[in-house]
């Protein structure tokens, strides 16, 4: 009797937690199915929407390539900016920072991670845009503007600014994870290195970083996911032009992303094909994030397996 009731409780618990995880799977399936069904008319209308470069609602032409390129470019640039900043900050934090500085820094990182994206957007639009325009874009365009990647004019609002704002949004994600990884480096290894006369840099280079590289890679992928899907802040600072990268490849040109396109047009879209094309863009974004995540997982298992066999 007693045993049975324990068994019953245990299996009830099993179904309860199992049910909780099914909810997540169920929601994901619902989102995927909804996106697929609602984007069906657009897929039928133009199966090659992914490669189209023109988005002209009045003529019924919907090409998504500029938005897809904008999403990939802004996220890639943001991650490229964020990696050295976050790693530098994390190494300083774990190896060099005095206790007080460390406490202050960790509060700042935590707060930055909780700032709503619309605040980042306002800050980017009102404060950073004029600064970037006057002190970054204009000098660069003035000196090396003949290179198409850095050609003018300087608008402030641009792909570059969006990448910069994204950088500030993902630095806290990468650095807080990296800090906890670096600080969990086994003390024996660290001490052994120091006793051999290694400098701090050598400890970081040969022990701490190799020890946490998989975790850091996972943190970067998490940040990339955040950057790919960020909507509000990007919409406010990217300039929302569908010309990049076809009329101009300059980083200082206004561009658009998948999320900014959807956020800008979905509310007022009346035409069925227009709505459907926007939803197809959403589906494409979902596929992009899934691809990024799966390939990241593949790389991580590869590397860790290789590590195990060595």
């Amino acid at each position: 009797m007693n045993k049975k009731s324990i068994f019953f409780k245990d299996s009830a618990f099993k179904y309860l937690v199992g049910g909780a995880s099914m909810v997540v799977v169920g929601f994901f399936a619902m989102i995927f199915v909804m996106l697929a069904i609602r984007s069906y008319p657009s897929i039928v209308n133009d199966p090659l929407m992914v490669f189209g470069s023109t988005w002209d609602v009045n003529s019924g032409i919907f090409g998504g390539l500029p938005a897809i390129m904008g999403t990939l470019a802004s996220s890639a640039i943001a991650v490229a900016f964020a990696i050295p900043i976050s790693l530098g900050m994390s190494v300083f934090f774990t190896e060099y920072a005095p206790r007080r500085v460390r406490a202050a820094l960790s509060v700042v990182i935590d707060i930055m991670a909780t700032i709503p994206s619309v605040i980042f957007g306002i800050w980017g639009l009102w404060i950073i845009a004029p600064l970037v325009k006057n002190y970054v874009q204009e000098p660069i365009i003035g000196s090396i503007g003949f290179i198409p990647l850095f050609s003018g004019p300087a608008y402030g609002l641009s792909l570059f600014l969006a990448s910069l704002v994204l950088t500030f949004m993902i630095v806290p994600i990468i650095s807080s994870l990296t800090i906890s990884l670096l600080s969990s480096t086994p003390a024996e290894l660290r001490e052994a290195m120091i006793s051999l006369g290694a400098t701090r840099w050598e400890v970081v280079r040969h022990v701490a970083l190799p020890f946490s590289k998989l975790g850091i890679f996972a943190a970067i992928i998490l940040a990339l996911g955040r950057a790919l899907g960020e909507t509000m802040a990007v919409t406010m600072v990217i300039g929302n032009s569908f010309m990049w990268p076809f009329s101009s490849v300059s980083l200082f040109s206004p561009a658009s992303t998948i999320t900014s396109k959807i956020a800008s047009e979905l509310y007022e879209a009346v035409d069925m094909l227009h709505v459907s094309s926007l939803i197809e863009l959403g589906l494409i974004l979902l596929v992009i994030t899934l691809t990024v995540n799966f390939s990241a997982r593949l790389i991580i298992t590869r590397i860790s397996r290789r590590g195990a066999t060595q």
Binding site: G156, S241, Y267, A269
Partner: protein
Amino acid sequence: MSFKNRKGISKILAVGIVALVLVAAGVFYYTQIMGAEQPATVTAGGASFPYPLISKWTSEYNKLHPLIQITYQSVGSGAGQNGLFAKTFDFAGSDSPLSDSQIAQNPGILHIPETGGGIVVAYNIPNIGSGMNLTADIIAKIFQGNITKWNDPAIAAINPALTLPDLGIVVIRRSDSSGTTDGFTTYLKNASSVWVLGSGKTVNWPTGIGASGNSGVASTLQQTPGGVGYLEFFYAKNNSIPYAKVLNRNGQFVEPTLSSISKALGAAAPLLTSDIRASVVNMPGDGVYPISVFTYILVYKDLSYMPEARAKAVANFLWWVIHDGQSFSESLLYPRLPSSVVTIAETNLRQLTYNGRPLL
């Protein structure tokens, strides 16, 4: 002791009498109103452009008719139309009239012009204030990227009094789908032969940066020297952003003001009699500001699908809007409907029916 007691009784008596009077007054007031109309809750929504005015109307109307509760949600014209089609909104606000295909799918909807607006060409040029002269062709060329400098000979030729700087033009337009974009591009399509982008709530802009909403365009414009954008009149006026005079069909450069916009609405009245959805931009007439548009309330002719009290409330409210409601327009920087347009709106509202009987 007895004195005290007597005082207590008279106090109770006084309180009792006051309470009775209040109750009687309440009952009288209530029955008076009940005699006139049934309580009703009306839900509407749509365009954000007329939202400040409509919310003023609903609160003023509620003061006059405390049993009628009307809420208007500022969700955008497209969402308003869909809400009306789905009959979740009892009426909808829309900056553009319904298209032919929408009418075919959803027959029996009335367009009631309730106010209008002017779209101004606003700019940020150091040391140059409001009142630069522009023509439709020049505006079209600027927004298509054919004119790229403020000291372009075409602009200089019609602004001899201004010293225009050698400054690049930065086009700032809406990134979101908007009735303002629709009005602006419809004007350019109508008035300029060089405009090739067509008209609609979004067009495929070849140049410039996109900002979200009137507020996004205004704030981007304010921090971009050389910037030019299009804004709702009241937005530019409230934010003290300089804007241009535009050449009208009578050959005058007209400053956008409430009266020049109202004149445009009046000039459009003859067109509306034959087709309520007629485009009203670029109207001829003395002192008419050419980039003026109507904004409409959309409502089903036959309101039998809703409770009778609500149908009456909708009809009475809309009737009040085009008459007494107009006195609130100008203080909120919306043009007053000219009497010629009020007559047309009246004719349309008289078509509202409930189970075959007219509501007005």
